[in-house]
């Protein structure tokens, strides 16, 4: 009789019912195939392949286009994540105090988050094309035009687009973090003669630590999605400076080069996994230090 079943058994049935569907799909579509990916990355060919150890990784690293894509993706994260962090924190500090139209401003900065990249691809083209509006403005001021999308400037353009897209997300996180900092504490500090910079460094900055941690993690995730915008604006073959891992994967995919595809996926998973684990550790250490 189910009603009198021991609590442990009831718990087990519940776990199975609630977690079962998700876990089954997670195993089938993510974990097991990732295991297969690791396995394939050690074979010379997926069908009746020979075990070749780390040869695929060596070949992968020997490929100049992989190194370029790998370095570019990491460089993009290394430049754009701090830039996004700084600009969204600045914006949050601007919007933090009582401000007329505060909610309306938040809406306007959040909007880019939901607008599909495809819907505004034409706008970026109209701005950054050689014959685009920015060069038109440059010409009318008598400045030399810049070939935005076909020089190293493309990297800067993508950073700007990335910040435009993601600033609202971080803004919401930072506003929540700022809201959790007790106003009395700031006021007391200010009565004690602490200037704005001192208050920021000693109260606001440590108070934002938990939110900052998550903002960085999500920004890194977002930085790998910049491919969408890049593809919309520059097509499948962009300037070298914005040739990212996604472009590399697409090209290997066309030829179904399993050794390169699998080893690249595993390597990237390792790098990101280590980075995330490092961030988690840094966060818990910061938490312990503050307690």
């Amino acid at each position: 009789m189910p009603r009198y079943r021991a609590p442990i058994a009831r718990e087990a049935v519940a776990v199975l019912a609630f977690l079962g569907p998700s876990l089954a799909g997670f195993l089938l579509f993510y974990l097991i195939p990732f295991g297969a990916t690791v396995y394939y990355s050690l074979l010379d060919t997926p069908i009746q392949g020979r075990f070749v150890g780390l040869d695929n990784y060596r070949l992968l690293w020997a490929s100049a286009s992989f190194r370029k894509a790998f370095v570019n993706s990491l460089a993009f994260a290394a430049v754009s994540v701090p830039a996004l962090f700084a600009s969204s924190l600045g914006l949050a500090l601007l919007l933090n105090r009582a401000m007329p139209l505060r909610r309306l401003f938040r809406t306007m900065f959040l909007l880019p988050l939901v607008v599909p990249a495809a819907s505004i691809a034409l706008v970026w083209q109209a701005l950054f094309h050689w014959n685009g509006a920015i060069n038109a403005a440059a010409a009318s001021w008598g400045t030399e035009p810049t070939d935005w999308m076909n020089t190293r400037w493309a990297f800067a353009v993508m950073t700007v687009v990335y910040i435009w897209k993601n600033i609202g997300y971080n803004l919401v996180l930072f506003l929540a973090g700022l809201g959790n900092i007790p106003a009395e504490q700031l006021e007391a500090a200010s009565i004690d003669g602490a200037g704005p910079w001192r208050r920021f460094r000693s109260i606001v900055w440590p108070g934002l630590a938990p939110v900052s941690f998550f903002a960085v993690v999500m920004s890194v995730v977002g930085s790998f999605k910049i491919f969408r915008e890049t593809y919309m604006v520059a097509g499948a073959y962009p300037n070298d400076s914005i040739y990212t891992l996604q472009h590399f994967m697409n090209n290997q995919f066309q030829s179904l080069d399993y050794p390169k595809l699998t080893s690249a996926a595993v390597l990237l998973a390792l790098v990101i996994g280590l980075a995330v684990a490092g961030l988690f550790r840094a966060e818990s250490r910061a938490r312990e230090a503050s307690e």
């Binding site: 009831r10 718990e11 519940a14 776990v15 019912a17 609630f18 977690l19 569907p21 998700s22 799909g25 997670f26 089938l28 579509f29 993510y30 195939p33 297969a36 990916t37 401000m99 306007m108 900065f109 959040l110 909007l111 880019p112 939901v114 607008v115 599909p116 990249a117 495809a118 819907s119 691809a121 034409l122 706008v123 109209a126 701005l127 094309h129 050689w130 014959n131 060069n135 038109a136 999308m149 076909n150 435009w164 929540a176 938990p210 941690f213 993690v217 890194v220 790998f224 593809y231 891992l245 996604q246 995919f253 595809l261 699998t262 690249a264 996926a265 990237l268 998973a269 990101i272 995330v276």
Partner: protein
């Protein structure tokens, strides 16, 4: 009050700065919407310069220095582009429908699966629960460049290649839905559940009558965030769907040809309308969803 002391600074410095930044933020959307009401001729006039080579160099130098002009107000506003889109270019409607067919099942499935799993992760005892959750978290943080190969391997084995299933199934089981719903479920006080348990309610009744109503804001937040992300999908269809006519509109708009530029803005507006309307309606849920995602625990 201190508020009055800062009042002048707000008006003089911060407000104009914010207005300027907000204008930059809105610029692409506003330009797209206003230009959707321009006639084909006007669009050709303003954007004709894009037809040339996208690069500088000799070829471009030889061309006349005509450039794009940004105009917000149509010379004569017209609904013609929308009419053309709906009547003569049924292709766009088909592609829009493709987007719906890809996105809708993912939204429904991810929300259902995520809500169920959230209850287990937040409120049930299970050995290794938090370690398993960390695995979900890690998967959620992996970019598509990592999951693309595993996705392809499964699609191949299950015979889903070149079908929407290759994109929809992994989308339904994406870790993000579980993660976000779990953050909301963890916020439900244990005391509520304990009280129901005292009254003899089992897990299923607790879930239905206590958890589910309290998780509604979370479900709205997930719907919005997952809609925004999947409506914007580019990588998966690009790799997993070979026929151009089966692509979602999000991919097609990138390859719009010169001859179609007259309706391109109208198509862009049509495409962003559902998600923008939902966003304006449910912004508070979206904001709460983002805030909850940032809470540890």
């Amino acid at each position: 009050m201190r508020r009055f002391a800062t009042g002048r600074l707000v008006v003089a410095v911060k407000l104009p700065l914010l207005v300027l930044l907000a204008a930059v933020s809105l610029f692409p959307v506003v330009l797209t919407v206003t230009n959707a009401f321009m006639s084909e001729r006007e669009i050709a006039h303003h954007f004709g310069a894009l037809a040339g080579s996208s690069s500088g160099g000799e070829e471009a130098a030889a061309m006349p220095t005509e450039r794009v002009s940004i105009r917000f107000v149509p010379e004569r506003a017209t609904l013609r582009p929308f009419g053309d889109l709906l009547i003569y270019q049924s292709k766009f409607l088909n592609l829009f429908w493709n987007s719906v067919r890809l996105t809708l099942p993912i939204l429904i499935g991810q929300t259902a699966i995520g809500t169920l799993a959230a209850y287990a992760f937040a409120k049930l005892r299970l050995p290794g629960r938090d370690r398993l959750f960390f695995l979900y978290l890690l998967t959620m943080m992996m970019p598509f460049q990592v999951t693309l190969v595993p996705n392809y391997i499964v699609a191949d084995k299950l015979g889903l290649l070149n079908s929407y299933g290759a994109i929809v199934w992994p989308g339904i089981f994406a870790a993000f839905g579980v993660f976000l719903m779990r953050q909301f479920a963890a916020g439900v006080p244990d005391a509520y559940l304990e009280a129901a348990r005292m009254d003899g309610a089992g897990h299923f009744r607790i879930f239905r009558h206590i958890m589910l109503p309290l998780l509604k804001p979370g479900m709205m937040a997930l719907l919005l965030l997952a809609f925004a992300d999947n409506w914007n999908m580019v990588e998966q269809p690009l790799l997993f769907l070979t026929e151009p006519f089966r692509q979602p509109l999000s991919v097609y708009l990138a390859r719009i040809t010169e001859g179609e530029r007259g309706v391109a803005f109208a198509a862009s507006v049509l495409y962003m309308t559902p998600i923008v309307l939902l966003f304006l309606y449910g912004e508070e849920y979206l904001v709460e969803g983002i805030q909850r995602s940032g809470i540890k625990g």
